[in-house]
């Protein structure tokens, strides 16, 4: 009789990583649809390019590192990185910009640290910040909603042709930041980029990402702590520093919750299990930190939106947060408080 030579664990669930990644991609669908409604094929173009480049770089570096290429590509994590990157970049980003961003995300953000599970920073945000710092002109060229000239867009993406006048439009966060003499009401009336509460397009995009995020929350992919911490902190910060609707306004709480990358960050990036804090308490602190930093950067910083910077800065803090929020080990006495407050 031969005994099967299998080591534990013997009971395996479905391929966890793969399932998680598929769910995340599914949850992004409403956001992608809404983005496409406003910006035509731009977002889809971004996604196709970013995912292809990310796959290419991942395969190349896995081969260089002499790891099984197909095995690691199948877990889908690189596709999620590409997808999130594509959603954060302005629709119709030039192909080389997407290549640089995906390259940095996969090679420098993930593989150089040892691949999935080892990366201290969220790869997508790292790639995004690299191109944001390096190519600020391209990164501020968000197309104006609906008025997309597809042919011009394609020529810009693939052949570097100059964009026609009026093709791109400052985002609402940018307009608010560069505003010097208009009250909020005047700004709303004068600029078609503003919608009901936040941006004409960005409020719907944010709501759709919120929808996707709630789906993931319901599927128990992550606990509520990090996203709620971030959104609550952003809300409270914008309420405390809400200085009216004059020309020096920083924008209302609702405006901050529904513009820029708030919801994408809160439900798709802050919840990254690898680069965020691990304990429940730690995740709450992590989220709150992100929310506070987002507001600080938006209101007083050098860039209109701060979600990517805030997340990378908190990624840096995650090990420290983990150190101070370690749950009590069973049988050890020291953490009396932890025993009462924890579950």
């Amino acid at each position: 009789m031969t005994l099967p030579r299998i080591t534990s664990p013997h009971a395996k669930g479905a391929n966890r990583t793969q399932r998680v990644m598929l769910l995340v991609m599914a949850a992004a669908v409403p956001g992608i649809l809404v983005l496409s409604y406003f910006f035509g094929i731009g977002p889809l173009l971004n996604i196709t390019l970013a995912c292809s480049f990310a796959l290419l770089f991942e395969a190349a570096i896995l081969a260089l590192r002499q790891r099984p290429v197909a095995f690691f590509l199948k877990d889908g994590s690189v596709l999620v990185t590409g997808l999130l990157l594509a959603l954060a970049l302005p629709p119709y980003s030039p192909w080389w910009l997407i290549a640089v961003a995906s390259g940095f995300a996969v090679v420098f953000g993930k593989q150089l640290f040892g691949g999935l599970g080892q990366n201290p920073f969220n790869p997508a945000m790292l790639g995004y910040v690299v191109v944001l710092i390096s190519f600020p002109v391209e990164m501020t060229a968000w197309p104006a909603a609906h008025s997309i000239d597809v042919a011009a867009g394609l020529q810009y993406v693939f052949f570097g042709q100059a964009l026609p006048d009026g093709w791109s439009q400052a985002t609402v966060l940018d307009s608010l930041k560069t505003n010097s003499n208009l009250t909020l009401q005047e700004l709303w009336d004068s600029n078609p980029a503003f919608g009901l509460f936040a941006g004409y397009s960005s409020e719907w995009v944010n709501l759709s990402f919120l929808l996707g995020g709630l789906f993931l929350l319901r599927k128990k992919l992550f606990s509520w702590h990090a996203p709620v911490g971030m959104l609550a902190a952003l809300f409270i910060m914008s309420l405390v520093f809400w200085n009216g609707s004059g020309s020096d306004s920083h924008g209302s709480p609702l405006f901050h919750l529904l513009s820029g990358a708030t919801m994408l960050g809160a439900f798709f990036i802050v919840t990254d299990p690898v680069s965020s804090a691990t304990s429940v308490q730690g995740r709450l602190i992590f989220g709150v930190g992100v929310g506070i930093l987002v507001y600080i950067i938006r209101a007083w910083g050098g860039y209109p939106d701060g979600v990517a910077f805030a997340i990378l800065l908190m990624n840096l803090c995650a090990p420290t947060i983990d150190y101070f929020t370690r749950p009590r080990t069973y049988g050890h006495q020291t953490a009396k408080r932890g025993f009462k407050t924890g579950e």
């Binding site: 710092i133 390096s134 190519f135 600020p136 002109v137 990164m139 501020t140 060229a141 930041k177 560069t178 010097s180 050098g302 860039y303």
Partner: protein
């Protein structure tokens, strides 16, 4: 006879003092021998910087010595700031003044502005700023020619409302992705021209007093 410990302390102190004296001497000799050359280089560098916005042939006085100090809120000054008065045969030729724009995208932008006696701009240069690399830093001549668009402009050319960036219905280009920086620079230059318009008599009065005192 001193105990051994004291002897060693004294020996070491003397040794240290000796080396201190030697190193100080080396530094002193180098300093002595380079002093005059450094002074010349410093002046030459300053002249080159001023020559960027006011060509050397447009004045004949010793520009670096013809300096007055201003502390004008209109020019954004916070401390006494040097202003150079240029003349040709004792007659007013131009002024070079420094203006600070506090409303840049991140921090103060310091400008060196040359204004001819007739009120036209001979040139503007940014001497210090902290604007975003790749966006606002195109006010530097090293990055773009934009700053040269002020050459030859004056208070009435363009008209009052033309002294703004195109986004604010003015005459001056903004940069792709950056409005605040050029807006701040345009406003600061405009204010400097207004200041010159109101005060050129006092500024050039300095020329006469130095003339007399010499």
């Amino acid at each position: 006879m001193l105990p051994e410990i004291s002897r060693s302390v004294i020996k070491n102190s003397l040794l240290l003092a000796l080396f201190a004296a030697v190193t100080v001497a080396v530094v002193a000799i180098t300093q002595q021998s380079t002093e005059s050359r450094i002074a010349t280089e410093e002046r030459a560098a300053q002249i080159r910087a001023l020559g960027e916005i006011l060509p050397a042939h447009s004045y004949d006085n010793a520009l670096l010595d013809s300096v007055i100090y201003l502390n004008e809120s209109l020019l954004g000054h916070r401390t006494d700031t040097p202003t150079y008065i240029a003349s040709v045969e004792g007659q007013p030729a131009a002024v070079i003044l420094q203006a600070n724009a506090a409303d840049g995208y991140s921090g103060t932008i310091s400008l060196l502005i040359g204004i001819m006696a007739d009120g036209t701009l001979s040139g503007v240069r940014v001497i210090h700023h902290k604007e975003t690399p790749g966006l606002g830093d195109r006010i530097e001549l090293a990055k773009s020619q934009w700053i040269k668009s002020f050459d030859g402009k004056s208070l009435n050319n363009p008209e009052e409302r033309g002294w703004a960036v195109k986004k604010d219905q003015g005459d001056f280009d903004q940069f792709a992705g950056a409005t605040i920086t050029p807006r701040a620079v345009v406003t600061a230059v405009h204010k400097a021209l207004q200041y010159f318009d109101q005060n050129h008599a006092q500024l050039f009065a300095h020329l006469k007093t130095t003339e007399v005192s010499q």
